[in-house]
């Protein structure tokens, strides 16, 4: 995986939104730092998991990558092409290569269209198949995602949540993309169905070599599907590394607390209450000078409050932005 070709290279990606009460009449120049200097690479055929809690900027990052939002700064290089400053029209030419799957398959599939049209229209629009050839290709796609051929003549509401998510996946794949941004694709599904979709996504990746930017708050699913994982907190990546490495030996105290808080499916592994993180992530408006996690961090020192930690490589591509880790305190999991 290390040597494979880098498909997407994101550098210093930044998106700020005006804070509440910051309108025409109230100009206080405050901003929500939704995404702040986020950098990562995504290799061909790889899955990068993006985890973090609500408001950490993971979804915004995904939307910036596919061009649904305009970044305020930074660059998004896709195969050497800069997407960050592209107009809608220019973006449309590479749209086929970058696709997105959403959490709510009910809202992202047009209820008035048959599955045949949902899948065929984008392909015909982008000139991938002719209208006459479309039904054959739709049949292939349905088979690929494990749906019966007669699904083509039915409407989205006739399917269960898991089946609808399969339709979304088929639609994303229909344009032969190299990268699919998946925003919480399995969060709304029951566990047994979740497993079906995760396995399907893995199989499709093996067969088609498509890369995933997999955004989710459910750490179990992310751990299962991702090669590498990035942990976000208040708009920043605080840790990035091989999935196993991040889960087994998290370096950043936030990553440790986050992973430690996932309830293990084993009654003999009940964590002690002392490891539970206190408080909640503040707003991303008043982020201050130092580490954004310092206020909740059990290890915060003076330096953490004053200086902003930078993402540093601790070996084998395992990065963390933490002064304590930098000072050489190997933080044990489950602090």
């Amino acid at each position: 995986m290390q040597d494979s070709h880098i498909l997407l290279s994101v550098r210093d990606l930044t998106k700020h939104y005006p804070a509440e009460g910051n309108g025409f009449f109230h100009r206080n120049n405050e901003f929500i730092h939704a995404v702040d200097h986020v950098s990562f690479d995504l290799r061909e055929g790889e899955t990068l998991g993006l985890v973090g809690e609500s408001g950490c900027g993971k979804s915004t990052t995904g939307r910036l990558v596919v061009g649904m939002e305009k970044p305020d700064g930074g660059s998004i290089l896709y195969e050497g092409q800069e997407l960050a400053g592209m107009s809608r029209k220019e973006l449309s030419s590479i749209r086929t290569l970058l696709q997105m799957i959403f959490q709510d398959s009910y809202q992202s599939l047009n209820p008035r269209k048959r599955v045949l049209d949902i899948l065929a229209d984008p392909m015909v629009f982008h000139g991938i198949v002719s209208r006459a050839d479309a039904p054959r290709r739709v049949g292939e796609l349905l088979q690929l995602v494990g749906l019966p051929a007669d699904a083509a003549d039915r409407y989205p509401h006739e399917f269960s949540g898991g089946q609808r998510q399969r339709i979304s996946i088929a639609r994303a794949l229909s344009l032969n993309p190299r990268l699919i941004v998946c925003d919480e694709p399995v969060s709304a599904l029951d566990v047994s169905i979740q497993a079906q979709i995760l396995n399907l996504m893995k199989d499709l990746q093996d067969r088609l070599g498509v890369a995933y930017l997999f955004i989710a708050h459910g750490l179990g699913a992310v751990h299962y599907i991702s090669d590498r994982i990035a942990v976000m907190y208040l708009g920043e990546i605080v840790e990035l590394g091989e999935g196993q490495e991040v889960f087994r030996h998290p370096l950043h105290p936030y990553a440790q607390a986050l992973i430690g808080a996932v309830p293990a499916a084993d009654p003999d592994r009940r964590p002690d209450d002392a490891s539970i993180l206190k408080g909640e992530a503040g707003d991303a408006v008043h982020v201050g000078e130092g580490c954004r996690f310092a206020a909740r961090c059990p290890f915060a020192a003076d330096q953490c409050l004053r200086e902003h930690p930078v993402l540093t490589d601790f070996g084998n591509g395992h990065l963390a932005a933490c002064w304590r880790a930098a000072r050489g305190h190997e933080c044990e999991p489950g602090i």
């Binding site: 609500s54 566990v191 047994s192 396995n199 750490l219 699913a221 309830p263 084993d266 003999d268 993180l277």
Partner: protein
Amino acid sequence: METLLDVNDLQVRFHSDFGDRIVTDHIAFQVGSGEILGIVGESGSGKSVTSLALMGLLPGNGSVLSGSAQFGGRDLLALSGKELDEIRGRDICMIYQDALASLDPVFPVGLQITEAIRRHVEPDRKKAHSIAVSWLDRIGIPNPEQAMNRYPHEFSGGQRQRIMIAMGLSCRPKLLIADEPTTALDVTIQAQIMKIIRDLRRELGMSVILITHDIGLIAQNADRVLVMYAGQIMESAGVRELFHHPLHPYTRALLASAPDPGDARERRLVSIPGSVPENYTNMSGCRFASRCAYAGGAGPSGDTGAGGSGSTAPSGYICPECLQHQELREPEPGHFVRCIRADGF
């Protein structure tokens, strides 16, 4: 352990233009005082309907067909709306996923919590106010004193959820029915809330019915577990027994289908083929049979347990034993299972 709640033979019927459905099939269980009973199941299993029926909160097209629920010498299912009103909030409190619907948008949250506390615990306005503030602090709302004057829409979804939880718990109920209480919350906040629930159980001897689809949450918190599927209890046992020796193929598959970050990554997730039957009112045999890896006859199809068969669909052949009506049996003391072949695997 003293029994606090004793539910027997609960059947709930839903009426629709396409015919009636019985969505819980002779449900029976007990909750001991100070016990955390976990009810786990997927959507459509009947786990939420069970709790709504106990609280007299079934939607208009739902009704209790049969059954009793003894709580403190009274049958909850036979009480009038007014009598239930007295019990709800004071003795039994329910928290659920949709917090927005349970807070009044036109009153500050402080007033709403104080109101509940004054009604059930502490009539004195000042004392009730300070109890409310301490609760907001306990659930991690920043600046609790100021937060009392804010309206529900001024809080984030996660905060509203926690405010609702605080409102319920501040009345120190004997029984807490928590239906997916933390599903909408982030994991670090979920950990905080579950700790508060465990603390209250210890402090007040509160009993809890924890309803969730999250197996991890059950493993970490429950003392005893009911596994529900298609309106029936498929298996029930103590939490360690259930996780270490699951008997029902559905339970086994459910445990194997949850991704566990503590596990090595290479293991392929087990998925259960198909989905929960939509209408199971007139199903005669085992309701899980069509999805079951074992129902095809000679046990697991060439591998070691429900686990191995992965996503391959069962052949469609269902052995005669599984087509018979399945009774809840007790193969080991305290361990119940609704599967005639469960000990043979």
